[in-house]
């Protein structure tokens, strides 16, 4: 490979992820053409350059957008580990990064839980996998029993998971016996110690199938969690809406704020519960178990952003840390467009929302202040689904250096890292 063709590789790589800058795009194309025109007679070189030229031409129609976003800085997508545990649990959901070293966990470890068991029944996964980026070791952090007296319906670990600075791990359970909401239980929030041992579980009238990724404001001795509850009044998926032919939509989902106090050396205590959002859409689904608000991000200004997949929008709940009443479904930040059943969500260094699509393999970047969708990046392109990547994405978390993000791919049960090294 000659230097000029390497330049072409580099230019193209930049174009793929930086097509937001029109200048970059044109420069990339010119470089590729130059490289191809100067190619020699060797077959390998010919093929590689022809391929690159073809790609330049095929990709040349990409749009340019002057808005600077985070995703254009993300170039690398690497598989880190399989998320399947030794008991065969599959379907990775939550992705969280530990802020602390304690027990089994080291700071910056990535924890991923599984929603399905080996038979791939939804709502029956009981395991949490840990991945240590520094050593690339994968370990089993926790394996819970299928049934806990404190958790109505059993265990099926969801996208709701957090590691507190004090080392305690909180994880949601939305259980089922047959993989559908026909047999779902109300579930609970499970508290684990830093070695993955069960400590206690929180249940109650406000806790009904904790579902989406958690928003968190952690001060060590106290913490505030935000969790969506998507199970209120959800019937079996066989209960259909005659108008749509799909399972009925129930607008009873809530976003619950949990106030925790964490006595030194003792488990967290659930001190308060406040419903800060309510009336979000939810329904059963045979393929996806449950559709409901799944992504939650707490912005530094106290605004809570929530993805409402069924209505295909992102909502904002103001003053989420302090409000005492429900904001209902909040204010619509953005709807439709690049969003396609938005799921879990993370916050970029620019303060932009990074939203996983459920109905395709794209991650959408949204400027919440402007209410504007900047662009989306394909992070799963599995063409076995229609559209590509449909149903493959779920959890997401920023890397500690904020140069990239972790995400999971349901289709192959793997943890990925995008951006950085």
């Amino acid at each position: 490979m000659t230097n000029d063709s390497n330049a072409c590789f580099a230019a193209k790589a930049e174009r793929i992820s930086t097509a937001g800058a029109g200048q970059h795009q044109r420069a990339g194309l010119a470089t590729c053409v130059t490289a191809s025109a100067s190619s020699g007679a060797k077959v390998l070189r010919f093929f590689s350059r022809t391929a690159l030229l073809a790609f330049c031409l095929l990709g040349g129609a990409a749009h340019a957008d002057p808005s600077a976003g985070f995703l254009e800085t993300v170039h690398r997508h690497a598989t880190l580990t399989s998320t399947i545990t030794d008991n065969g649990d599959v379907n990775p959901y939550a992705v969280v990064v530990s802020p602390v070293t304690a027990g089994k966990i080291a700071k910056d470890d990535v924890l991923v839980d599984n929603f399905n068991n080996i038979s791939n029944l939804q709502g029956t996964g009981t395991t949490i996998v840990g991945f240590r980026p520094g050593t690339r070791d994968t370990y089993l952090f926790a394996k819970l029993p299928q049934h806990l007296p404190q958790c109505p319906g059993g265990i099926g670990l969801t996208t709701a998971m957090a590691v507190l600075k004090s080392g305690w791990v909180i994880v949601g359970s939305t259980p089922s016996r047959d993989g559908t909401t026909a047999t779902k239980g109300d579930g609970c929030l499970v508290v684990l110690d830093s070695s993955g041992r069960f400590v206690t579980a929180w249940a109650g009238p406000n806790i009904n199938d904790p579902w989406g990724n958690m928003g968190i404001d952690d001060h060590g001795a106290s913490a505030t969690l935000f969790v969506s509850m998507a199970g209120f009044g959800v019937p079996s998926p066989s209960v259909l809406d005659p108008a749509t032919g799909l399972p009925v939509v129930v607008k009873k989902s809530i976003v619950l704020r949990l106030g925790l106090t964490i006595p030194d050396g003792k488990p967290p205590v659930l001190a308060s519960q406040t419903i800060v959002g309510s009336g979000f859409a939810q329904r059963a689904d045979r393929d996806n178990f449950l559709l409901g608000p799944t992504g939650i991000v707490l912005a530094p200004d106290g605004t809570l952003y929530v993805t409402d997949g069924l209505d295909n929008l992102i909502a904002a709940i103001p003053d989420a840390l302090t409000r005492t009443t429900s904001a209902g479904t909040g204010r619509v930040v953005t709807q439709g467009g690049l969003l396609s059943w938005p799921l879990a969500m993370a916050l970029s260094p620019q303060g932009h929302l990074l939203v996983c699509n459920g109905k395709d393999g794209r991650l959408v970047e949204v400027d919440p202040a402007a209410g504007k969708q900047i662009y989306a990046q394909w992070i799963n392109n599995d063409q076995a689904q229609s559209p590509p990547g449909n149903g493959d994405l779920f959890g997401i978390a920023m890397t500690p250096d904020a140069k990239g993000f972790y995400y999971v791919m349901d289709d192959v049960n793997t943890l990925m890292r995008a951006g950085g090294r």
């Binding site: 957008d65 030794d86 791939n120 993989g179 149903g391």
Partner: protein, 482 residues
């Protein structure tokens, strides 16, 4: 697949047995995909929720759990079908044939912490009869699972990923190249053989090439210089059978002869896919309509029999000739495959329409039965309300008999005027199929095919004064995932 009886002519020429190799219905190994099944309790627990399971036998009585501890996953699928021709052919009537596939995979990271390794072993149990052999004599055989009755090893390979972002992987061992090369995912929904492994390699390569139910020792490299492009290159033994004579499946009944005594078969394929991981999409860009385009070629260094000339330079059809075909070194073909989604429902994205096409040809007409083939069609996922998991497909295939074979037929007609020997030219078929998902583990697939000019215009051995008549084939296939 199966041996088509025009092979009597080819065998007389001393060439490869003419056959149409196939590709069976795709089979996913369960641990790596999202497929729901009930967690049956006890030995009959799986019976409690057959409507939910993706596997008839659920957790296989606990076997899957045991295997998972060692990073092993297992899939078993039965495909059975009854196909019959209502018109045309040399005989009429239905036949039954079936295939049991078993695939076991070991993930080395889950087994012992070695990243990026996958060991794959698969086996086939083929049963029933072959409609194409018994009744149709078509070049483009009616079913992709038709093959000789046998229980045989199919593939046994190890794949290792390497380079940053897994940009390359190398696969070594016994491989069936139809699983990766010249592949069209949309074509996999159809029943006719040609939508799996197309005609040109089926009838031109030694033994039909390393495709279902055969495979070949070899090595394959895949490299992604950028995310949108993949380059596949593989070198395999030139013939999947240990001998060049007769039916290659009978020459290796168990699939364990592992021949390395032939020349080499080289495959190179370039793939371009959209969307690629990392690609950016902007508001207003429209629906993500995925597509994959492939171009490639193969070259086989084996000896190939001339279709018209003998070793003495005389016509093979001439009574004065010595009957031993002239041997030529090497054969090659180029091809292109396109799969393109053209529509998806904005509200229910699982509903979509895709088109596909595959074209393949070889200029080496003197040594090949077929010098050109094409197949393509349209596939509609979720065609009816409430049937999002069903698929309907309309496809067609065309095969052109090489000029050398046409000339051989004319030579035969001229030298044996008392024997009706029409000059074979081309064969065309159309297929309409509907895959109905009765349960996630059980599909039913009614299928209609119509074949024009079977065999390219072959004389009917039962009524030697006429060609084999055009055939209307209908049938029902079922897939059951255990």
């Amino acid at each position: 697949m199966r041996v088509i009886r025009i092979s009597a002519i080819v065998t007389a020429l001393g060439g490869w047995t003419t056959q149409a190799l196939a590709a069976p219905p795709p089979l996913s190994v369960p641990i790596n995909v999202d497929q729901a099944t009930p967690d049956g309790q006890g030995y009959s627990g799986f019976l409690s929720d057959l409507s939910r399971t993706n596997f008839l036998l659920g957790n296989l009585f606990g076997i899957r759990t045991v295997l998972a501890r060692y990073g092993i996953s297992l899939a078993v699928q039965e495909t059975s079908e009854v196909l019959g021709n209502a018109t045309g052919g040399v005989h009429r009537g239905p036949t039954y044939d079936g295939l049991t596939q078993a695939i076991m995979q070991l993930d080395t990271q889950r087994a012992f912490g070695w990243y990026g390794g996958l060991l794959n072993i698969s086996a086939l149990q083929i049963h029933g009869r072959n409609l194409s052999t018994d009744n149709l004599l078509s070049l483009q055989t009616a079913s992709g699972i038709e093959a000789d009755r046998s229980t045989r090893l199919w593939e046994a390979w190890y794949d290792q990923r390497f380079l940053d972002e897994d940009r390359a992987d190398i696969k070594i061992g016994q491989q069936s190249v139809d699983q990766e090369f010249i592949y069209s995912p949309n074509g996999a929904y159809f029943v006719n053989t040609m939508f799996g492994w197309p005609l040109v390699p089926s009838v031109d390569l030694p033994g039909g090439g390393p495709a279902y139910p055969l495979s070949d020792l070899g090595i394959r490299l895949r490299y992604r210089p950028i995310n949108a492009i993949a380059l596949l290159a593989g070198v395999f033994n030139g013939n999947p059978a240990p001998t060049s004579d007769g039916d290659p499946q009978r020459a290796d009944r168990s699939g364990t002869s592992f021949p390395l005594n032939g020349g080499t078969l080289t495959f190179v394929e370039l793939q371009y896919s959209y969307p690629a991981v990392g690609a950016l999409v902007y508001p207003g860009d429209g629906a993500p309509l995925g597509h994959t385009y492939r171009v490639g070629f193969w070259y086989d260094s084996e000896r190939f029999s001339d279709q018209r000339i003998d070793t003495g330079g005389n016509l093979l059809a001439s009574p004065a000739g010595i009957g031993e075909p002239f041997h030529r070194r090497g054969d090659y073909s180029i091809y292109a495959v396109a799969d393109q989604m053209v529509w998806r429902d904005s509200a229910l994205p699982n509903r979509s329409v895709s088109v596909f096409g595959r074209i393949m040809g070889t200029p080496e007409a003197d040594r090949n039965l077929a010098d050109f083939s094409f197949n393509g069609g349209v596939v509609y996922h979720g065609p009816f309300r409430g049937r999002l998991t069903d698929t309907i497909g309309l496809g067609a295939g065309y095969a052109h008999v090489s000029h050398a074979v046409t000339a051989f037929d004319r030579d035969t007609a001229a030298t044996q005027p008392d024997v009706y020997t029409p000059a074979r030219t081309s064969e065309t078929f159309v297929e309409l199929t509907y895959q109905y998902q009765f349960h996630p583990w059980w599909q039913l697939q009614p299928d209609l095919q119509y074949v024009f000019n079977p065999g390219g215009g072959l004389a009917n051995p039962v009524d030697p004064s006429r060609k084999v008549g055009s055939e209307f084939v209908l049938g029902l296939r079922t897939n059951i995932l255990f």
